[in-house]
């Protein structure tokens, strides 16, 4: 961070020029447009312009019945599709008071955690590629292929899932799924050693990421930052622990927290989170009960009038569904609170004073998925 002279950030004079980072750019993850005002290589002000992939999911929700909104949920954040599916089903089940059988809850947790691992693999490796190391990106995708193959066997999709239903899940998992998952977890644990050798202990990577893009704790609180970006700044907040849902209270796992708040801290938090997810999956596989996978619910559900807010933890932070029902089969209003929306806004506060190269590193470490912002 440099001490920059106070230049009125709306003035473009001979020194300050405007640079458009995006929307077409190899390293803004998705169609993100960052309007930078620069003085040489130093950023004076940063203004994210979003809305390039706005598809109107919330309006679509008012034109469909409750069941028909389910495929929309996984398109909002395509990397955590299963987690969003689960969240929506649990929100509606909460409002209607539907009891989900235990086997279904365990299956939901296992598939969601696998989805979290695959999302982190992509997020971390794309960030590392932005810093310049191209090779770990492909190693991460190799691991991700295994997860996608495992999930495809049981859900039928690789990226945009529609696997959960009100009251449970669609298909049952079999022994081969469990064996494949265990093999994958062993394999990934071995790969972590390679990743640490190649990335974490690399002197150039350390110099690029230590002390860069620091989010102070107060700023994180004011802006509503959640997820690994918050846990890298010292706040131990994870919806799975603070506001437990589903069968998470029955599992033993920790929340990795780092105090520094810089890019390296967020990277380490994500790597440690993958390890914790693997622990959860192992415990869930060990304790998987028998039983039905779906409760008996009517074909078209009629929730009672009222509203409900349900929060859960996706790979990027705390997601919330605020659903308003007027007693009919069509939702009255569904609002999706997405973590990337708040996480991206924090950049306007922390980017000024940094170099362009640090901008890219910070943007990659916050791990935004732009369709989640735009909905």
């Amino acid at each position: 961070m440099l001490n920059i002279k106070t230049i009125d950030d709306t003035s473009i004079n001979e020194r300050v020029y405007q640079l458009n980072l995006g929307p077409q750019h190899p390293s803004t993850h998705g169609v993100l447009h960052l309007l930078l005002k620069l003085d040489g290589e130093v950023v004076i002000s940063a203004d994210p312009i979003v809305g390039y992939s706005h598809r109107g999911h919330e309006k679509m929700a008012e034109n469909r019945i409750w069941e028909q909104f389910l495929p929309n949920t996984s398109r909002i954040d395509y990397l955590s599709g299963l987690i969003y599916n689960q969240g929506y089903c649990m929100a509606v089940e909460k409002m209607c008071g539907i009891e989900v059988p235990e086997r279904a809850e365990y299956i939901r947790v296992i598939t969601s955690e696998l989805n979290r691992i695959s999302s982190h693999l992509l997020g971390i490796m794309a960030f590392v590629m932005d810093i310049g190391a191209f090779t770990p990106f492909l190693y991460g995708w190799d691991d991700r292929e295994h997860v996608l193959d495992i999930l495809e066997r049981v859900t039928g999709s690789r990226l945009t899932y529609c696997y959960n239903r009100f009251g449970g899940v669609r298909n049952d998992i079999d022994q081969e799924f469990c064996d494949g998952t265990r093999r994958f977890i062993d394999r990934l644990r071995g790969r972590f050693k390679d990743y640490h050798n190649l990335i974490t202990e690399n002197i150039i990577f350390i110099k690029r990421t230590r002390g860069v893009g620091i989010i102070p704790e107060e700023t994180a609180l004011e802006f509503g930052v959640t997820g690994p970006s918050l846990r890298g700044s010292g706040v131990a907040y994870d919806v799975r622990k603070n506001e437990p849902y589903s069968v998470y209270p029955g599992f033993k796992f920790e929340i990795p927290v780092r105090k520094e708040g810089d890019v390296m801290a967020r990277y380490q938090v994500r790597m440690a989170e993958m390890e914790q997810s693997m622990k959860i999956i192992e415990q869930a596989l060990d304790g998987l009960p028998q039983g039905p996978i779906r409760a008996r619910v009517p074909r078209f559900i009629d929730p009672p009038a009222g509203d409900c807010y349900f929060a859960f933890e996706s790979a990027r932070g705390a997601v919330g569904y605020y659903i308003v029902s007027d007693g009919t089969r069509i939702p009255y209003r569904i609002k999706v609170r997405t973590p990337s929306f708040s996480n991206l806004f924090v950049l306007t506060r922390i980017l000024p004073g940094n170099f362009i190269a640090d901008t890219i590193a910070t943007l990659g470490s916050i791990d935004v998925v732009v369709p989640e912002i735009d909905r």
């Binding site: 640079l19 590629m129 310049g132 190693y139 190799d142 690399n202 690029r208 362009i356 190269a357 890219i360």
Partner: protein, 332 residues
């Protein structure tokens, strides 16, 4: 006034004849060798990168994809060479030409074998250094003339980086030159008939390699054309054959840098059993392989870290090395 009294007339007469024919044949061979070498190196880079990244690289065109570069060259030649509307047309056209011609000229003094050197010059090493510095001029022209902010940032970074890393490059080469008292590439090679200079000057070798990686704008010093930040740096706006010339120049510069390294530190064409040419080519390609390997392993340095590294670390170490060499040569 007799024609025999004109200045340099004896030298000119001496050059015409056998020397001229040798020079012309040599340049023709170089003009054939340079594109073939670049094409081969592009394929080598893609295969090496692929195998490091757990994938096979190009496999479709020809056996193991060996004709891939040829097909890519045909594709690039068939593309439209677009000039942006507000670009500086003359400089925009000139930049790719200026980057490739000095690179080809540098081949004139490289000793491929005891008998294969196009022209023996008293200032061989200086010639190579001065001509490869012209690439900076071309990058600046290309970046400025493109009328594109990304290109300009890339060009500005390139100028600063190249200027900064020239100095340790020259200082480490000087350590070798004061050992052999000559700028001639063939004499430096001949002086290594018993022991390679890397044994005497390991520090200078390391500094030399880091500096040439920075001079040729290869990773981890490739901020100039950092894909993930500046789209393509100074050659963002270049299309078609002009882009191909930049590409060609990059691999030619890599070859020149590696052959300098082979001549200065690894004994040039010396080696048992095989003829000199084969040893020279082997050494050069091993060094190029190391450069490619480094590119796909390390992330890239941020710009201020890069400059700090050059000015605060490399230059003092190179100067210290030079002084110690000079003292030791005087003493021993």
């Amino acid at each position: 006034m007799n024609i025999n009294q004109l200045p340099f007339i004896n030298e000119i007469y001496g050059f015409l004849g056998r020397d001229l024919v040798a020079a012309v044949i040599g340049i023709l061979i170089i003009l054939v060798f340079v594109p073939l070498n670049s094409a081969f190196l592009v394929w080598v880079e893609r295969k090496v990168a692929g195998h490091i990244q757990l994938r096979p690289g190009p496999m479709e065109v020809g056996p193991h994809g060996i004709l891939q570069t040829l097909v890519d060259a045909v594709k690039l030649m068939s593309k439209e060479m677009i000039t942006p509307k507000l670009a500086d047309k003359f400089l925009f056209w000139l930049a790719p030409i200026i980057i490739i011609i000095p690179a080809i000229v540098c081949f004139v003094v490289i000793p491929f074998s005891p008998i294969m050197q196009v022209r023996e010059m008293n200032v061989g090493i200086l010639l190579i250094f001065s001509f490869s510095s012209l690439t900076v001029l071309s990058i600046l022209m290309g970046g400025w003339a493109s009328n594109n902010k990304y290109a300009l940032i890339g060009a500005v970074r390139a100028v600063a980086q190249n200027v900064a890393y020239e100095i340790p490059l020259l200082l480490s080469t000087m350590s070798i030159i004061i050992m052999t008292n000559s700028f001639k590439m063939s004499e430096i090679t001949a002086a290594q008939s018993t022991v390679w200079f890397i044994v005497y000057q390991p520090v200078a070798a390391i500094i030399f390699f880091i500096s040439t990686t920075a001079e040729t704008n290869r990773a981890p010093f490739d901020l100039v054309e950092a894909e993930s930040e500046l789209v393509s740096g100074f050659h963002t706006e270049y299309t078609g054959m002009r882009f191909a010339l930049f590409f060609l120049a990059e691999y030619t510069n890599m070859f020149i840098a590696a052959s300098m390294g082979a001549v200065l530190f690894f004994g040039g064409w010396h080696g048992p059993f095989f003829p000199g040419l084969i040893w020279f080519v082997i050494k050069v390609y091993v060094l190029i392989f190391v450069i490619i390997w480094v590119r796909w392993t390390f992330p890239r340095l941020r710009f201020d870290q890069l400059m700090n590294f050059a000015w605060k670390f490399m230059i003092p170490v190179a100067m210290l090395n030079l002084m110690i060499t000079a003292v030791l040569l005087k003493v021993l």
